[in-house]
Every structure is written in structure tokens, then in C-alpha cells.
Symmetry: C2
Subunit: 267 residues, 2 copies
DNA sequence: GGCTGCGTTCTATTATTTAGAACGCCGTAT
DNA sequence: ATACGGCGTTCTAAATAATAGAACGCAGCC
């Protein structure tokens, strides 16, 4: 199945995630390929503009072309830049790290964040991933997928801590409660010591596009603290949604909560 | 030369730059390939996680994997997020659009921007490109490449307006003046009606890594206005550089101005 | 001065991708 | 109700394109 393409993409991936330029033998070792194979593939990647030879020394590194492409993908959803100010506001209200996440399959990917100024804080990286079923932003996103859950949710999901919800039925119940409350909570279900709270962000068509949330150490974000912060997080999600052109945030959210499988969309 | 890889990357590129999901025949038409070929390649891209079938309808769209990779590439240079606050400050001081640009070959790529609040403003897109020799950020970046200019600068560069500097020697002279002044100016050399001003950003090792600049309509940014703004732009570049760990910004810049081809690097 | 590591080049062998037609599906127009 | 046209998908023989492995040139190092 187009192994050349797979190899090329994998090589690009390795190169993108490397801290610096890489040599041919180095890559050949990591990818279990012959040197000539790596060489040829790299030359193709260079010709396509994704990679460039690092000056002088015979090593290769990524260009910014990946960034260019990624920007095109993101630009049709200009959510991150629109979200920036609301996230800053949320950060100063809660003093916790603020995330904007989008769904990619059964994972969330963090597209923007504001770091908490506190010495102890939750860590995450822009572009990083987390399993959606055990983080607050992910649960918020899954809860608002059409049909009360994503298509193809397996019977059992991977466990990461003692608190991870792994059963599908249990998870669907959780989603229902997320829709009832209007926000999702994570109590150490992904990382033992990290809790979070998130709310759904709707676009101009009333469709769920992202989730905005806060997260921090479990000691600071006990359930009582989380519930106290819930209104401001929901406010931020609502404001952002309105900024994106959604004029009936509360109404759409209520329709989801009411159990309507496919609420009439409305911006 | 690995045509399969080229096709796959091209297809990914087209898909990334499309406004929405695309069908197979559609892509086959645009890429001049047979349907079966497109189909197979798409399946490979799906398997690799770069593309997903768009629900229901038989079309395909990009996942966020490209964003994930691009984020890894950018993360080793955490310049954009570090730059954010300085750029905001610059935006409120000048009321113009603020850019952060990096060099990619002989082009700049915009990695971050703060939009001016003025009704009339310069347009650009994050991830977008511009020829380095005729924009302020690009000239700043080129001027500080080792050797007083980039390697492989052709004798003559493409003209875009009547003011574009196209001759290599003339351009090298311009770079020298940029180094003398500590900032670069663009007077409608890329788009007739857009002017700009930019200064170099140095990293912890004293190496040029980005340029920060403002740009706006020529009527507002005449040369006098530009020169008035020069100090605040340079201040922003210096502050950002210091934030990145460069402790001797002025000294390094002066060494470049002095004509030292390769100043001693120092953070 | 020879050795070891690197990136690069070369070529016959081989597995891979390719083109093109046929298939099944669905909505539309007849 | 039915035939049509367009779509994504599948299949298979034919041939192109990628592969492995050794040889080469060039460093720096012992």
C-alpha cells in the first residue's frame, strides 16, 4: 500500500519531531532502512520543499512548509486567533492553564493554550494529543457529537488511571450528564494528579468545533473549585462561540441536553 | 525520483489548501491522475493519519495531523508564543499590523501576527509567504545572514513593483544600510501601497532567527512616520531577543554593522 | 599514513504501482 | 417505474519505479 509514500511521511514525521538536523545513517538506523533508501527519499522531500540540507554538515532538517500547510488547514477555522482574548481573560480569572482543543478521531489536539503563571501547573504542548475520553475538553467535544457520542466508539476504551471511564455505556452516560450540565469535568482520568473543566464551543452554524477548558493540579482543582469555575469557563465558551457567529449558544446547548439527537442548527 | 511520494505530498497539499472536503474524481481532474491512482494514494494517506473520509459522502479532508507535525517543528523555536506580548505592545503603540516572520530560503513565512484595529490595514495570512527581498522583515533577515547576505543570492531578483530592488549588488548595499541602521524599511517594494519596517530578532546564541515588524498603507506609513516608529520596533525586537536569552543584542547588532562577517556569537 | 565513519553514487533485480475497464450504488430525469 | 449518468470502489495484467548492496570519495582521528 504505497510503501514509498508511507516511508516518506514517516521520515518527515521523525524529522519534524527531532530536536535538530539528522544524518542519513542516523535516520536509516531509526527507520530500519538502508542508507540509499533514506538518501533517495530525503532528496525527494527536499525537491518537494519539505526538507532542506542543513548548511555545511551533511544533515537534513525540516523547512517551514509543514507550517504553511498546517496554517491553511487551520485558517478555515480561525478559531485559535479568535479565542486568544477569551482565553487570556479566562487565564487571569482562574490562574490556571487554559486550553483550546479540537477533536481528531478519538483524540483531542491542543491548538492553543495560555500557560498558568502559577509555579505548579499542568503541562501540555500545542499540537499535542490526548485521548478524548479522559480529558475535559475531549469529553465536552465527544458529548456534542451528533448522536450523543462519536460514531465508532468501541465497547471499551484504554485505561490510564484508576479514574478513567473505560466502558462505552458508562461513557455515554457521562456525555449525557455533560450535556445536562453544559460542561465537562475531568478528575484525574488521564493523569492522576491533573484535573480539568471544559465547555463546548459552537461555530456560526451551531456545530461543535472546539472546546475551551482549564486544567491544573488536583490539589488546587478539587471538585468544589471546579464547580466554582464552571460558570466562567462556560461564559468564555459562549463568548467565543458568539464571536464565531453563533447567536444561540444557550439554546443549542439546551437542545442537546434535551436529548434531541440532531438539534436544529442555528447561528 | 519517488514519484509516489511526490504525488502523495502534492495531494496532501491540495487537500490542505482546499476550503473543504474533496471527491476522488475532483482530485483526479486537478492532479491529472486516474481515479484509481487517487483512490489508492488517499487510502495510504488515510492509513498514515493525514487524511480522513468525510462522514457519509464519499469525500476526503485533512485531519489535524499536519498541525501536530508543524507544531513540533515550531516548538523548538518557541519564538511565536514568546513574541506574543511584545507584538501586542507594538500593535497598541503603532496601531498597525504587527508581524513575526521567519526565513525559508529566499522567502519569509509569517508565523504570527497581530491585526491592526484600523479600518484600512495591510493584509497577510499566518503561514503565508512573501519574497524576502522586498518586504521589511525579509530584508532584515537577509541582512543578518552570515556573510552579509544569504548564500546563493541570484544576480537578479523578481520585480514586483516599480520600487522593488532587483539587482544583487544594490540589494547587498541595502543590507549594509539595514545593518547600519539596525532596522529595515520597505517602501512599496512588494505591494505598491504597503510600507513596512522591521528589526531582527536574535536567539540565545546571538543568531538571527526571526524578524518583527509593522506594516500598513503607504499613506499612513510615509518615511517620516516609519522613522518615528523605528525605535519602538527595534525596542520590541530587542526585548523579544532578550526574552529568548540573548543578553547582548545591541553589541551583536553593532558587530554586524561593523562589517564583521561572522561576529562572535554571544547570548 | 592508514583507518573508520560519514554522505553519495551506481546498477541489476525485484516488487511495486499503474492504467483501464468493470462493478455497485445512488439520485435524477425520463 | 425505469433508465441514465456520475460517483467511489474493485480488479488484474503490464510495466514502471523503487530497492538493496557494494563501491566511491571525503573527512577527521588514531
Amino acid at each position: 500500500m504505497d510503501s514509498t509514500l508511507i516511508k516518506g511521511l514517516t521520515m518527515l514525521e521523525v524529522l519534524a519531531k527531532s530536536p535538530g538536523p539528522r544524518g542519513i545513517s542516523d535516520l536509516a538506523g531509526e527507520l530500519q532502512l538502508t542508507k540509499s533508501n533514506v538518501h533517495r527519499t530525503l532528496q525527494t522531500l527536499v525537491a518537494a520543499g519539505y526538507v532542506r540540507p542543513s548548511e555545511g554538515t551533511g544533515t537534513y532538517e525540516c523547512t517551514l512548509k509543514l507550517f504553511e500547510l498546517a496554517s491553511s488547514v487551520m485558517s478555515r477555522l480561525d478559531v485559535p486567533s479568535a479565542a486568544d482574548s477569551y482565553m487570556h481573560a479566562l487565564a487571569s480569572e482562574t490562574n490556571e492553564t487554559v486550553h483550546l482543543a479540537m477533536l481528531d478521531g478519538l483524540e483531542v489536539i491542543y491548538v492553543h493554550k495560555i500557560e498558568s503563571q502559577q509555579p505548579v501547573r499542568a503541562y501540555s504542548a500545542i499540537g499535542g494529543r490526548a485521548p478524548a475520553h479522559c480529558v475535559a475538553t475531549g469529553k465536552a467535544l465527544l458529548a456534542y457529537q451528533d448522536g450523543g457520542g462519536p460514531t465508532g466508539l468501541p465497547d471499551r476504551l484504554p485505561r490510564h488511571t484508576g479514574r478513567t471511564i473505560t466502558g462505552r455505556d458508562e461513557l455515554l452516560g457521562e456525555f449525557a450528564s455533560v450535556r445536562r450540565q453544559g460542561y465537562a469535568i475531568n478528575r484525574g482520568e488521564w493523569r492522576e494528579s491533573v484535573c480539568g473543566l471544559a465547555a463546548i464551543v459552537l461555530d456560526a452554524a451551531g456545530r461543535p468545533t472546539a472546546a475551551i477548558g482549564i486544567s491544573g493540579p488536583a490539589e488546587r482543582l478539587r471538585v468544589t473549585a471546579l464547580r466554582r469555575y464552571a460558570p466562567v469557563v462556560v461564559d468564555a465558551a459562549r463568548s467565543l462561540s458568539e464571536r464565531l457567529g453563533c447567536t444561540r449558544y444557550d439554546q443549542v446547548v439546551r437542545e442537546y441536553a434535551g436529548g434531541a439527537k440532531k438539534p436544529n442548527k442555528g447561528g
